[in-house]
Symmetry: C2
Subunit: 311 residues, 2 copies
Protein backbone atom coordinates (compact mmCIF):
# COMPACT_ATOMS: atom_id res chain seq x y z
CA UNK A 1 0.00 0.00 0.00
CA UNK A 2 1.23 3.44 -0.79
CA UNK A 3 1.32 6.05 1.93
CA UNK A 4 -1.65 8.33 2.20
CA UNK A 5 -1.07 11.55 0.27
CA UNK A 6 -0.19 14.61 2.26
CA UNK A 7 -3.25 16.82 2.38
CA UNK A 8 -4.31 20.00 4.03
CA UNK A 9 -6.32 19.64 7.19
CA UNK A 10 -9.73 18.42 6.13
CA UNK A 11 -12.46 20.99 5.80
CA UNK A 12 -15.00 20.66 8.52
CA UNK A 13 -18.69 21.32 8.18
CA UNK A 14 -20.37 24.50 9.34
CA UNK A 15 -23.92 25.85 9.23
CA UNK A 16 -25.52 29.23 9.89
CA UNK A 17 -29.18 30.24 9.76
CA UNK A 18 -31.18 33.43 10.05
CA UNK A 19 -34.83 34.13 10.73
CA UNK A 20 -34.81 37.71 9.52
CA UNK A 21 -33.33 41.06 10.50
CA UNK A 22 -35.56 43.74 11.98
CA UNK A 23 -36.30 46.26 14.65
CA UNK A 24 -37.00 43.79 17.43
CA UNK A 25 -35.84 44.70 20.92
CA UNK A 26 -36.12 43.00 24.32
CA UNK A 27 -38.81 45.59 25.10
CA UNK A 28 -40.99 44.75 22.09
CA UNK A 29 -40.47 41.00 21.84
CA UNK A 30 -41.98 39.04 24.72
CA UNK A 31 -39.92 36.51 26.62
CA UNK A 32 -42.20 33.78 25.31
CA UNK A 33 -41.72 34.96 21.71
CA UNK A 34 -37.97 35.12 22.19
CA UNK A 35 -37.91 31.61 23.62
CA UNK A 36 -40.03 30.23 20.78
CA UNK A 37 -37.82 31.85 18.16
CA UNK A 38 -34.66 30.58 19.80
CA UNK A 39 -36.11 27.08 19.99
CA UNK A 40 -37.01 27.15 16.30
CA UNK A 41 -33.52 28.33 15.35
CA UNK A 42 -32.06 25.46 17.39
CA UNK A 43 -34.34 22.98 15.65
CA UNK A 44 -33.28 24.31 12.24
CA UNK A 45 -29.60 24.05 13.18
CA UNK A 46 -30.12 20.51 14.44
CA UNK A 47 -31.82 19.47 11.21
CA UNK A 48 -28.97 20.77 9.09
CA UNK A 49 -26.26 19.55 11.44
CA UNK A 50 -27.62 16.03 11.41
CA UNK A 51 -27.03 15.94 7.66
CA UNK A 52 -23.61 17.55 7.70
CA UNK A 53 -22.35 15.46 10.62
CA UNK A 54 -23.12 12.31 8.66
CA UNK A 55 -21.14 13.57 5.67
CA UNK A 56 -24.18 14.90 3.84
CA UNK A 57 -24.06 17.74 1.36
CA UNK A 58 -24.34 21.45 2.05
CA UNK A 59 -27.25 21.67 -0.40
CA UNK A 60 -29.20 19.11 1.62
CA UNK A 61 -28.40 20.87 4.88
CA UNK A 62 -29.58 24.31 3.84
CA UNK A 63 -32.81 22.86 2.43
CA UNK A 64 -33.50 20.98 5.66
CA UNK A 65 -32.74 23.96 7.88
CA UNK A 66 -34.88 26.35 5.86
CA UNK A 67 -37.78 23.87 5.76
CA UNK A 68 -37.81 23.89 9.57
CA UNK A 69 -37.89 27.69 9.62
CA UNK A 70 -40.69 27.70 7.01
CA UNK A 71 -42.80 25.60 9.37
CA UNK A 72 -42.02 27.82 12.38
CA UNK A 73 -44.81 30.39 12.84
CA UNK A 74 -42.38 32.93 14.34
CA UNK A 75 -40.84 33.77 10.99
CA UNK A 76 -42.09 35.33 7.77
CA UNK A 77 -41.80 32.30 5.52
CA UNK A 78 -44.08 29.35 4.88
CA UNK A 79 -46.44 28.86 7.85
CA UNK A 80 -46.49 32.28 9.49
CA UNK A 81 -45.77 34.33 6.38
CA UNK A 82 -47.20 37.84 6.17
CA UNK A 83 -50.22 38.69 4.05
CA UNK A 84 -50.34 40.52 0.74
CA UNK A 85 -52.57 43.55 0.32
CA UNK A 86 -55.26 41.11 -0.85
CA UNK A 87 -55.05 39.04 2.33
CA UNK A 88 -53.41 36.05 0.69
CA UNK A 89 -50.00 34.53 1.29
CA UNK A 90 -47.52 34.48 -1.60
CA UNK A 91 -44.12 32.92 -1.03
CA UNK A 92 -40.69 33.30 -2.60
CA UNK A 93 -37.70 30.98 -2.17
CA UNK A 94 -34.37 30.19 -3.76
CA UNK A 95 -31.54 27.71 -3.38
CA UNK A 96 -28.07 27.61 -4.93
CA UNK A 97 -25.37 24.95 -5.02
CA UNK A 98 -21.82 26.28 -4.84
CA UNK A 99 -20.37 23.21 -6.54
CA UNK A 100 -21.72 24.03 -9.98
CA UNK A 101 -23.46 27.34 -9.33
CA UNK A 102 -26.76 25.84 -10.36
CA UNK A 103 -29.80 27.39 -8.75
CA UNK A 104 -33.56 27.19 -8.46
CA UNK A 105 -36.09 29.80 -7.41
CA UNK A 106 -39.84 30.28 -7.12
CA UNK A 107 -41.75 33.52 -6.71
CA UNK A 108 -45.28 34.12 -5.48
CA UNK A 109 -46.25 30.51 -4.97
CA UNK A 110 -49.32 29.86 -2.87
CA UNK A 111 -49.79 26.17 -2.20
CA UNK A 112 -46.51 24.36 -1.54
CA UNK A 113 -45.82 23.81 2.14
CA UNK A 114 -42.06 24.12 1.73
CA UNK A 115 -41.21 26.62 -1.00
CA UNK A 116 -37.49 25.91 -0.55
CA UNK A 117 -38.11 22.36 -1.69
CA UNK A 118 -40.02 23.64 -4.70
CA UNK A 119 -37.07 25.89 -5.58
CA UNK A 120 -34.84 22.86 -5.34
CA UNK A 121 -37.17 20.90 -7.63
CA UNK A 122 -36.89 23.71 -10.20
CA UNK A 123 -33.11 23.34 -10.01
CA UNK A 124 -33.07 19.56 -10.10
CA UNK A 125 -35.88 18.69 -12.48
CA UNK A 126 -36.31 21.51 -15.00
CA UNK A 127 -34.05 23.34 -17.43
CA UNK A 128 -35.15 26.56 -15.74
CA UNK A 129 -33.89 28.57 -12.79
CA UNK A 130 -36.92 30.66 -11.84
CA UNK A 131 -40.65 29.94 -12.00
CA UNK A 132 -43.32 32.36 -10.83
CA UNK A 133 -46.98 32.70 -9.97
CA UNK A 134 -49.70 30.36 -11.14
CA UNK A 135 -47.21 28.65 -13.44
CA UNK A 136 -44.98 27.79 -10.52
CA UNK A 137 -48.00 26.52 -8.60
CA UNK A 138 -48.83 24.32 -11.59
CA UNK A 139 -45.27 22.99 -11.69
CA UNK A 140 -45.61 22.08 -8.01
CA UNK A 141 -48.42 19.73 -8.92
CA UNK A 142 -46.00 17.72 -11.08
CA UNK A 143 -43.88 17.03 -7.99
CA UNK A 144 -44.59 14.93 -4.91
CA UNK A 145 -44.13 17.98 -2.66
CA UNK A 146 -46.84 18.53 -0.06
CA UNK A 147 -49.55 20.92 -1.22
CA UNK A 148 -51.68 22.85 1.27
CA UNK A 149 -54.54 25.32 1.16
CA UNK A 150 -53.36 28.94 1.24
CA UNK A 151 -55.08 29.28 4.62
CA UNK A 152 -52.64 26.76 6.04
CA UNK A 153 -49.92 29.42 5.93
CA UNK A 154 -52.03 31.92 7.89
CA UNK A 155 -51.34 31.94 11.61
CA UNK A 156 -53.70 33.58 14.14
CA UNK A 157 -51.03 36.21 14.85
CA UNK A 158 -50.69 37.17 11.18
CA UNK A 159 -54.48 37.26 10.80
CA UNK A 160 -54.65 39.64 13.73
CA UNK A 161 -51.89 41.83 12.30
CA UNK A 162 -53.62 41.97 8.94
CA UNK A 163 -56.99 42.81 10.50
CA UNK A 164 -55.43 45.57 12.59
CA UNK A 165 -52.90 47.07 10.27
CA UNK A 166 -53.53 46.01 6.73
CA UNK A 167 -50.71 47.16 4.54
CA UNK A 168 -49.02 49.54 6.96
CA UNK A 169 -47.15 47.52 9.53
CA UNK A 170 -44.05 48.81 11.22
CA UNK A 171 -40.72 48.38 9.54
CA UNK A 172 -39.67 45.72 12.02
CA UNK A 173 -42.34 43.35 10.76
CA UNK A 174 -41.01 43.47 7.25
CA UNK A 175 -37.78 41.63 7.85
CA UNK A 176 -38.78 38.07 8.61
CA UNK A 177 -37.09 36.28 5.73
CA UNK A 178 -35.38 33.02 6.69
CA UNK A 179 -32.22 31.55 5.26
CA UNK A 180 -29.30 29.19 5.68
CA UNK A 181 -25.72 28.86 4.46
CA UNK A 182 -23.65 25.73 4.88
CA UNK A 183 -20.31 24.14 4.12
CA UNK A 184 -19.99 20.36 4.08
CA UNK A 185 -17.04 18.15 4.89
CA UNK A 186 -16.07 18.13 1.22
CA UNK A 187 -15.74 21.93 1.32
CA UNK A 188 -18.77 22.66 -0.84
CA UNK A 189 -21.02 25.57 0.07
CA UNK A 190 -24.74 26.21 -0.51
CA UNK A 191 -27.34 28.84 0.33
CA UNK A 192 -31.12 28.94 0.61
CA UNK A 193 -33.60 31.69 1.42
CA UNK A 194 -37.39 31.72 1.88
CA UNK A 195 -39.81 34.54 2.58
CA UNK A 196 -43.35 35.83 2.55
CA UNK A 197 -42.05 39.17 1.35
CA UNK A 198 -43.22 42.47 2.75
CA UNK A 199 -46.52 42.88 4.52
CA UNK A 200 -49.22 44.33 2.35
CA UNK A 201 -47.24 43.81 -0.85
CA UNK A 202 -49.16 44.34 -4.06
CA UNK A 203 -48.73 44.49 -7.81
CA UNK A 204 -46.90 41.17 -7.80
CA UNK A 205 -43.87 42.57 -6.01
CA UNK A 206 -40.80 40.32 -5.97
CA UNK A 207 -37.98 41.15 -3.56
CA UNK A 208 -34.38 40.02 -3.35
CA UNK A 209 -34.88 36.63 -1.70
CA UNK A 210 -35.61 34.58 -4.86
CA UNK A 211 -33.22 36.56 -7.04
CA UNK A 212 -30.04 34.58 -7.68
CA UNK A 213 -27.12 36.91 -6.96
CA UNK A 214 -29.14 39.24 -4.73
CA UNK A 215 -30.74 37.53 -1.70
CA UNK A 216 -29.30 34.09 -2.42
CA UNK A 217 -25.93 33.14 -3.88
CA UNK A 218 -23.40 30.31 -3.54
CA UNK A 219 -20.06 29.74 -5.23
CA UNK A 220 -17.41 27.26 -4.10
CA UNK A 221 -14.79 29.73 -5.36
CA UNK A 222 -15.85 32.28 -2.74
CA UNK A 223 -18.71 31.76 -0.29
CA UNK A 224 -22.45 31.24 0.18
CA UNK A 225 -24.75 34.12 1.15
CA UNK A 226 -28.34 34.58 2.33
CA UNK A 227 -29.69 38.09 2.90
CA UNK A 228 -32.59 39.62 4.80
CA UNK A 229 -33.80 43.20 4.95
CA UNK A 230 -35.08 45.92 2.69
CA UNK A 231 -35.20 43.74 -0.38
CA UNK A 232 -35.14 46.40 -3.07
CA UNK A 233 -31.83 47.73 -1.76
CA UNK A 234 -30.26 44.29 -1.68
CA UNK A 235 -31.60 43.64 -5.17
CA UNK A 236 -29.99 46.72 -6.73
CA UNK A 237 -26.75 46.01 -4.83
CA UNK A 238 -26.78 42.43 -6.22
CA UNK A 239 -25.81 41.79 -2.63
CA UNK A 240 -24.93 38.09 -2.56
CA UNK A 241 -22.87 38.13 -5.72
CA UNK A 242 -21.19 41.39 -4.70
CA UNK A 243 -19.98 39.78 -1.47
CA UNK A 244 -18.67 36.79 -3.40
CA UNK A 245 -17.06 39.02 -6.04
CA UNK A 246 -15.24 41.09 -3.42
CA UNK A 247 -13.87 37.90 -1.89
CA UNK A 248 -12.99 36.20 -5.18
CA UNK A 249 -11.84 39.12 -7.33
CA UNK A 250 -10.50 41.61 -4.77
CA UNK A 251 -9.17 39.28 -2.10
CA UNK A 252 -11.38 40.95 0.46
CA UNK A 253 -12.05 39.17 3.74
CA UNK A 254 -15.57 37.81 4.03
CA UNK A 255 -16.23 39.97 7.09
CA UNK A 256 -15.16 43.13 5.25
CA UNK A 257 -17.10 42.20 2.13
CA UNK A 258 -20.34 41.66 4.03
CA UNK A 259 -19.81 44.91 5.91
CA UNK A 260 -19.12 46.82 2.68
CA UNK A 261 -22.36 45.64 1.09
CA UNK A 262 -24.42 46.35 4.21
CA UNK A 263 -22.84 49.82 4.31
CA UNK A 264 -23.80 50.37 0.66
CA UNK A 265 -27.36 49.33 1.46
CA UNK A 266 -27.39 51.63 4.49
CA UNK A 267 -26.07 54.54 2.42
CA UNK A 268 -29.19 54.18 0.28
CA UNK A 269 -31.44 54.25 3.33
CA UNK A 270 -31.86 50.48 3.56
CA UNK A 271 -31.16 48.06 6.37
CA UNK A 272 -30.90 44.35 6.98
CA UNK A 273 -28.45 41.56 7.50
CA UNK A 274 -26.55 38.77 5.83
CA UNK A 275 -25.17 35.40 6.76
CA UNK A 276 -22.21 34.19 4.73
CA UNK A 277 -20.23 30.96 4.74
CA UNK A 278 -16.60 30.97 3.57
CA UNK A 279 -14.66 28.09 1.99
CA UNK A 280 -12.77 27.72 5.25
CA UNK A 281 -13.24 29.16 8.71
CA UNK A 282 -16.20 30.60 10.50
CA UNK A 283 -19.38 32.06 9.03
CA UNK A 284 -20.16 35.77 9.16
CA UNK A 285 -23.52 36.87 10.61
CA UNK A 286 -23.89 40.66 10.42
CA UNK A 287 -26.79 43.11 10.45
CA UNK A 288 -27.47 46.84 10.50
CA UNK A 289 -30.87 46.55 12.15
CA UNK A 290 -31.29 46.32 15.90
CA UNK A 291 -31.65 42.57 15.76
CA UNK A 292 -31.45 39.49 13.57
CA UNK A 293 -32.71 36.03 14.47
CA UNK A 294 -29.61 33.92 13.87
CA UNK A 295 -27.63 30.90 14.87
CA UNK A 296 -24.70 28.71 13.92
CA UNK A 297 -23.20 25.33 14.58
CA UNK A 298 -20.09 23.56 13.31
CA UNK A 299 -18.23 20.28 13.59
CA UNK A 300 -16.20 21.58 16.51
CA UNK A 301 -18.64 24.19 17.86
CA UNK A 302 -21.93 23.63 19.71
CA UNK A 303 -25.04 25.34 18.38
CA UNK A 304 -25.61 28.90 19.53
CA UNK A 305 -28.52 31.19 18.70
CA UNK A 306 -29.11 34.90 19.22
CA UNK A 307 -31.62 37.65 18.45
CA UNK A 308 -30.40 41.06 19.60
CA UNK A 309 -27.11 42.83 18.89
CA UNK A 310 -25.98 42.41 22.46
CA UNK A 311 -26.78 38.69 22.58
CA UNK B 1 -13.52 85.79 -13.73
CA UNK B 2 -11.40 82.88 -12.67
CA UNK B 3 -9.90 80.63 -15.26
CA UNK B 4 -11.87 77.57 -16.21
CA UNK B 5 -10.72 74.55 -14.20
CA UNK B 6 -8.52 72.07 -15.99
CA UNK B 7 -10.61 69.06 -16.84
CA UNK B 8 -10.19 65.82 -18.67
CA UNK B 9 -11.51 65.67 -22.20
CA UNK B 10 -15.27 65.63 -21.97
CA UNK B 11 -16.96 62.27 -22.17
CA UNK B 12 -18.85 61.82 -25.39
CA UNK B 13 -22.06 59.90 -25.80
CA UNK B 14 -22.25 56.38 -27.15
CA UNK B 15 -25.04 53.88 -27.74
CA UNK B 16 -25.19 50.18 -28.59
CA UNK B 17 -28.20 47.94 -29.18
CA UNK B 18 -28.86 44.26 -29.76
CA UNK B 19 -31.80 42.36 -31.17
CA UNK B 20 -30.78 38.98 -29.85
CA UNK B 21 -28.06 36.40 -30.36
CA UNK B 22 -28.85 33.18 -32.18
CA UNK B 23 -28.11 30.65 -34.84
CA UNK B 24 -29.04 32.83 -37.80
CA UNK B 25 -26.94 32.51 -40.94
CA UNK B 26 -27.09 34.13 -44.38
CA UNK B 27 -28.49 30.81 -45.60
CA UNK B 28 -31.39 30.70 -43.15
CA UNK B 29 -32.26 34.39 -42.92
CA UNK B 30 -33.73 35.80 -46.12
CA UNK B 31 -32.35 38.96 -47.65
CA UNK B 32 -35.64 40.66 -46.94
CA UNK B 33 -35.55 39.61 -43.28
CA UNK B 34 -31.96 40.78 -42.99
CA UNK B 35 -32.84 44.14 -44.49
CA UNK B 36 -35.84 44.58 -42.20
CA UNK B 37 -33.79 43.74 -39.12
CA UNK B 38 -31.00 46.10 -40.13
CA UNK B 39 -33.52 48.87 -40.74
CA UNK B 40 -35.09 48.35 -37.31
CA UNK B 41 -31.68 48.43 -35.62
CA UNK B 42 -30.92 51.71 -37.42
CA UNK B 43 -34.23 53.16 -36.28
CA UNK B 44 -33.50 52.18 -32.68
CA UNK B 45 -30.03 53.73 -32.84
CA UNK B 46 -31.49 56.90 -34.32
CA UNK B 47 -34.07 57.16 -31.55
CA UNK B 48 -31.45 56.86 -28.84
CA UNK B 49 -28.90 59.04 -30.63
CA UNK B 50 -31.39 61.86 -31.01
CA UNK B 51 -31.66 62.00 -27.22
CA UNK B 52 -27.96 61.69 -26.49
CA UNK B 53 -26.94 64.19 -29.16
CA UNK B 54 -29.15 66.79 -27.50
CA UNK B 55 -27.53 66.21 -24.15
CA UNK B 56 -30.22 63.83 -22.93
CA UNK B 57 -29.61 61.12 -20.37
CA UNK B 58 -28.43 57.57 -20.96
CA UNK B 59 -31.52 56.26 -19.17
CA UNK B 60 -33.79 58.04 -21.65
CA UNK B 61 -31.77 56.81 -24.60
CA UNK B 62 -31.85 53.13 -23.70
CA UNK B 63 -35.60 53.32 -23.04
CA UNK B 64 -36.22 54.96 -26.41
CA UNK B 65 -34.02 52.52 -28.33
CA UNK B 66 -35.58 49.46 -26.70
CA UNK B 67 -39.11 50.76 -27.29
CA UNK B 68 -38.34 50.88 -31.03
CA UNK B 69 -37.08 47.29 -30.95
CA UNK B 70 -40.17 46.20 -28.98
CA UNK B 71 -42.34 47.52 -31.79
CA UNK B 72 -40.25 45.84 -34.50
CA UNK B 73 -41.79 42.48 -35.44
CA UNK B 74 -38.39 41.01 -36.30
CA UNK B 75 -37.37 40.63 -32.66
CA UNK B 76 -38.64 38.60 -29.73
CA UNK B 77 -39.89 41.46 -27.58
CA UNK B 78 -43.15 43.40 -27.53
CA UNK B 79 -44.86 43.14 -30.94
CA UNK B 80 -43.37 39.98 -32.43
CA UNK B 81 -42.63 38.19 -29.16
CA UNK B 82 -42.76 34.42 -29.12
CA UNK B 83 -45.65 32.48 -27.64
CA UNK B 84 -45.81 30.60 -24.37
CA UNK B 85 -46.88 26.97 -24.31
CA UNK B 86 -50.42 28.27 -23.80
CA UNK B 87 -50.31 30.39 -26.93
CA UNK B 88 -50.19 33.71 -25.11
CA UNK B 89 -47.48 36.34 -25.05
CA UNK B 90 -45.82 37.15 -21.72
CA UNK B 91 -43.17 39.82 -21.63
CA UNK B 92 -40.21 40.61 -19.38
CA UNK B 93 -38.20 43.82 -19.26
CA UNK B 94 -35.75 45.67 -17.05
CA UNK B 95 -33.96 48.99 -16.92
CA UNK B 96 -31.15 50.24 -14.69
CA UNK B 97 -29.62 53.67 -14.14
CA UNK B 98 -25.87 53.67 -13.53
CA UNK B 99 -25.98 56.98 -11.68
CA UNK B 100 -27.63 55.61 -8.56
CA UNK B 101 -27.93 51.92 -9.44
CA UNK B 102 -31.67 52.14 -9.17
CA UNK B 103 -33.59 49.70 -11.32
CA UNK B 104 -37.03 48.58 -12.40
CA UNK B 105 -38.23 45.30 -13.85
CA UNK B 106 -41.42 43.55 -14.89
CA UNK B 107 -41.95 39.87 -15.56
CA UNK B 108 -44.70 38.11 -17.47
CA UNK B 109 -46.76 41.17 -18.31
CA UNK B 110 -49.35 40.79 -21.03
CA UNK B 111 -50.93 44.11 -21.91
CA UNK B 112 -48.42 46.99 -21.93
CA UNK B 113 -47.23 47.86 -25.44
CA UNK B 114 -43.76 48.87 -24.23
CA UNK B 115 -42.69 46.72 -21.29
CA UNK B 116 -39.44 48.70 -20.97
CA UNK B 117 -41.48 51.78 -20.13
CA UNK B 118 -43.39 49.78 -17.53
CA UNK B 119 -40.10 48.68 -15.99
CA UNK B 120 -39.08 52.31 -15.88
CA UNK B 121 -42.36 53.24 -14.19
CA UNK B 122 -41.66 50.61 -11.52
CA UNK B 123 -38.29 52.27 -10.92
CA UNK B 124 -39.59 55.82 -10.98
CA UNK B 125 -42.96 55.56 -9.26
CA UNK B 126 -42.89 52.68 -6.80
CA UNK B 127 -40.69 51.67 -3.85
CA UNK B 128 -40.21 48.34 -5.63
CA UNK B 129 -37.76 47.01 -8.18
CA UNK B 130 -39.60 44.04 -9.65
CA UNK B 131 -43.29 43.40 -10.30
CA UNK B 132 -44.64 40.24 -11.90
CA UNK B 133 -47.69 38.67 -13.47
CA UNK B 134 -51.23 39.88 -12.99
CA UNK B 135 -50.04 42.26 -10.29
CA UNK B 136 -47.69 43.97 -12.72
CA UNK B 137 -50.51 44.17 -15.28
CA UNK B 138 -52.65 45.83 -12.61
CA UNK B 139 -49.88 48.30 -11.82
CA UNK B 140 -49.74 49.17 -15.52
CA UNK B 141 -53.34 50.37 -15.30
CA UNK B 142 -52.25 53.00 -12.76
CA UNK B 143 -49.91 54.51 -15.38
CA UNK B 144 -50.66 56.34 -18.59
CA UNK B 145 -48.72 53.73 -20.59
CA UNK B 146 -50.47 52.37 -23.67
CA UNK B 147 -52.35 49.15 -23.02
CA UNK B 148 -53.10 46.69 -25.82
CA UNK B 149 -54.87 43.38 -26.20
CA UNK B 150 -52.51 40.42 -25.91
CA UNK B 151 -53.28 39.61 -29.54
CA UNK B 152 -51.63 42.88 -30.53
CA UNK B 153 -48.23 41.33 -29.77
CA UNK B 154 -48.89 38.32 -32.02
CA UNK B 155 -47.48 38.69 -35.51
CA UNK B 156 -48.53 36.42 -38.41
CA UNK B 157 -45.03 34.93 -38.43
CA UNK B 158 -45.15 34.01 -34.76
CA UNK B 159 -48.66 32.59 -35.16
CA UNK B 160 -47.38 30.41 -37.98
CA UNK B 161 -44.38 29.27 -35.91
CA UNK B 162 -46.62 28.42 -32.98
CA UNK B 163 -49.08 26.51 -35.19
CA UNK B 164 -46.27 24.56 -36.79
CA UNK B 165 -43.88 23.94 -33.96
CA UNK B 166 -45.58 24.53 -30.66
CA UNK B 167 -43.06 24.38 -27.89
CA UNK B 168 -40.16 22.85 -29.81
CA UNK B 169 -38.65 25.52 -31.99
CA UNK B 170 -35.03 25.44 -32.99
CA UNK B 171 -32.48 26.95 -30.67
CA UNK B 172 -31.92 29.89 -32.98
CA UNK B 173 -35.46 31.10 -32.40
CA UNK B 174 -34.95 31.36 -28.69
CA UNK B 175 -32.51 34.22 -28.65
CA UNK B 176 -34.49 37.22 -29.75
CA UNK B 177 -34.17 39.39 -26.66
CA UNK B 178 -33.53 43.07 -27.37
CA UNK B 179 -31.45 45.50 -25.38
CA UNK B 180 -29.51 48.73 -25.27
CA UNK B 181 -26.62 50.24 -23.34
CA UNK B 182 -25.73 53.91 -23.44
CA UNK B 183 -23.38 56.55 -22.07
CA UNK B 184 -24.42 60.18 -22.10
CA UNK B 185 -22.34 63.32 -22.35
CA UNK B 186 -22.22 63.53 -18.56
CA UNK B 187 -20.58 60.11 -18.45
CA UNK B 188 -23.53 58.27 -16.95
CA UNK B 189 -24.39 54.80 -18.19
CA UNK B 190 -27.68 52.88 -18.37
CA UNK B 191 -28.95 49.54 -19.63
CA UNK B 192 -32.32 48.14 -20.69
CA UNK B 193 -33.46 44.72 -21.88
CA UNK B 194 -36.82 43.40 -23.12
CA UNK B 195 -37.91 39.94 -24.19
CA UNK B 196 -40.69 37.48 -24.86
CA UNK B 197 -38.58 34.77 -23.29
CA UNK B 198 -38.21 31.33 -24.78
CA UNK B 199 -40.72 29.86 -27.18
CA UNK B 200 -43.13 27.47 -25.55
CA UNK B 201 -42.16 28.53 -22.04
CA UNK B 202 -44.40 27.27 -19.28
CA UNK B 203 -44.75 27.12 -15.51
CA UNK B 204 -44.21 30.87 -15.28
CA UNK B 205 -40.57 30.67 -16.34
CA UNK B 206 -38.54 33.86 -15.84
CA UNK B 207 -35.18 34.15 -17.58
CA UNK B 208 -32.25 36.47 -17.08
CA UNK B 209 -33.55 39.54 -18.93
CA UNK B 210 -35.60 41.07 -16.06
CA UNK B 211 -33.16 39.97 -13.36
CA UNK B 212 -31.08 42.91 -12.16
CA UNK B 213 -27.46 41.79 -12.18
CA UNK B 214 -28.02 38.98 -14.68
CA UNK B 215 -29.44 40.13 -18.03
CA UNK B 216 -29.49 43.82 -17.16
CA UNK B 217 -27.03 45.84 -15.07
CA UNK B 218 -25.64 49.38 -14.99
CA UNK B 219 -23.13 51.02 -12.65
CA UNK B 220 -21.35 54.31 -13.30
CA UNK B 221 -18.36 52.86 -11.43
CA UNK B 222 -17.89 50.21 -14.13
CA UNK B 223 -20.18 49.79 -17.14
CA UNK B 224 -23.68 49.00 -18.39
CA UNK B 225 -24.58 45.52 -19.71
CA UNK B 226 -27.46 43.89 -21.58
CA UNK B 227 -27.34 40.15 -22.29
CA UNK B 228 -29.08 37.79 -24.70
CA UNK B 229 -28.90 34.03 -24.95
CA UNK B 230 -29.59 30.93 -22.91
CA UNK B 231 -31.10 32.80 -20.01
CA UNK B 232 -30.67 30.24 -17.26
CA UNK B 233 -26.90 30.20 -17.82
CA UNK B 234 -26.66 33.98 -17.70
CA UNK B 235 -28.82 33.99 -14.60
CA UNK B 236 -26.60 31.60 -12.62
CA UNK B 237 -23.49 33.47 -13.83
CA UNK B 238 -25.05 36.75 -12.61
CA UNK B 239 -23.64 37.84 -15.95
CA UNK B 240 -24.12 41.59 -15.97
CA UNK B 241 -22.88 42.17 -12.45
CA UNK B 242 -20.01 39.73 -12.98
CA UNK B 243 -18.79 41.79 -15.95
CA UNK B 244 -19.03 44.98 -13.90
CA UNK B 245 -17.33 43.35 -10.90
CA UNK B 246 -14.39 42.14 -13.00
CA UNK B 247 -13.94 45.68 -14.34
CA UNK B 248 -14.41 47.45 -11.00
CA UNK B 249 -12.78 45.03 -8.55
CA UNK B 250 -10.17 43.26 -10.68
CA UNK B 251 -9.21 46.01 -13.11
CA UNK B 252 -10.11 43.78 -16.01
CA UNK B 253 -10.67 45.32 -19.42
CA UNK B 254 -14.30 45.38 -20.49
CA UNK B 255 -13.51 43.24 -23.53
CA UNK B 256 -11.81 40.61 -21.40
CA UNK B 257 -14.56 40.68 -18.78
CA UNK B 258 -17.32 40.10 -21.33
CA UNK B 259 -15.30 37.33 -22.93
CA UNK B 260 -14.68 35.67 -19.56
CA UNK B 261 -18.38 35.59 -18.73
CA UNK B 262 -19.37 34.31 -22.17
CA UNK B 263 -16.69 31.62 -21.81
CA UNK B 264 -18.13 30.64 -18.42
CA UNK B 265 -21.58 30.39 -19.98
CA UNK B 266 -20.16 28.35 -22.87
CA UNK B 267 -18.38 26.01 -20.44
CA UNK B 268 -21.78 25.19 -19.01
CA UNK B 269 -23.21 24.44 -22.45
CA UNK B 270 -24.86 27.82 -22.92
CA UNK B 271 -24.49 30.44 -25.61
CA UNK B 272 -25.43 34.03 -26.30
CA UNK B 273 -24.05 37.51 -26.39
CA UNK B 274 -23.63 40.72 -24.47
CA UNK B 275 -23.34 44.39 -25.22
CA UNK B 276 -21.48 46.49 -22.67
CA UNK B 277 -20.81 50.22 -22.39
CA UNK B 278 -17.73 51.42 -20.50
CA UNK B 279 -17.29 54.72 -18.66
CA UNK B 280 -15.02 55.85 -21.47
CA UNK B 281 -14.23 54.48 -24.89
CA UNK B 282 -16.06 52.15 -27.20
CA UNK B 283 -18.75 49.63 -26.38
CA UNK B 284 -18.15 45.89 -26.53
CA UNK B 285 -20.53 43.75 -28.60
CA UNK B 286 -19.58 40.07 -28.35
CA UNK B 287 -21.39 36.76 -28.89
CA UNK B 288 -20.68 33.04 -28.94
CA UNK B 289 -23.56 32.18 -31.26
CA UNK B 290 -23.22 32.39 -35.04
CA UNK B 291 -24.92 35.77 -35.10
CA UNK B 292 -26.25 38.63 -33.04
CA UNK B 293 -28.43 41.47 -34.31
CA UNK B 294 -26.46 44.49 -33.16
CA UNK B 295 -25.49 48.07 -33.84
CA UNK B 296 -23.77 51.10 -32.39
CA UNK B 297 -23.45 54.83 -32.84
CA UNK B 298 -21.48 57.51 -31.02
CA UNK B 299 -20.87 61.23 -31.04
CA UNK B 300 -17.98 60.82 -33.44
CA UNK B 301 -19.00 57.60 -35.16
CA UNK B 302 -21.81 57.04 -37.65
CA UNK B 303 -24.33 54.30 -36.95
CA UNK B 304 -23.38 50.80 -38.05
CA UNK B 305 -25.41 47.62 -37.76
CA UNK B 306 -24.56 43.95 -38.24
CA UNK B 307 -26.05 40.50 -37.91
CA UNK B 308 -23.52 37.77 -38.65
CA UNK B 309 -20.05 37.24 -37.21
CA UNK B 310 -18.41 38.14 -40.50
CA UNK B 311 -20.42 41.36 -40.90
Amino acid sequence: MSAAPVTAAPTTWSLAVHGGAGGMSPATLSAAAQAAARAALHTALAAGAAILRDGGGAIDAVAAAVAVLEDAPQFNAGHGAVFTADGTVELDAAIMDGRNRRAGAVARVTRTRHPVDLARAVMARTPHVMLAGVGADAFALTTELEQVANDWFKTPERRRQFAEGGATFDRAMKYGTVGAVARDNDGHVAAATSTGGVTGKKWGRIGDSPIIGAGTYADDRACAVSATGSGEDFLCAVAGHEVAAQVRLAGQSLTAAVRAVLDEVAAGGGAGGMIAMPRTGEPVLTFTTTAMYRGSVAADTPATVAIFAED
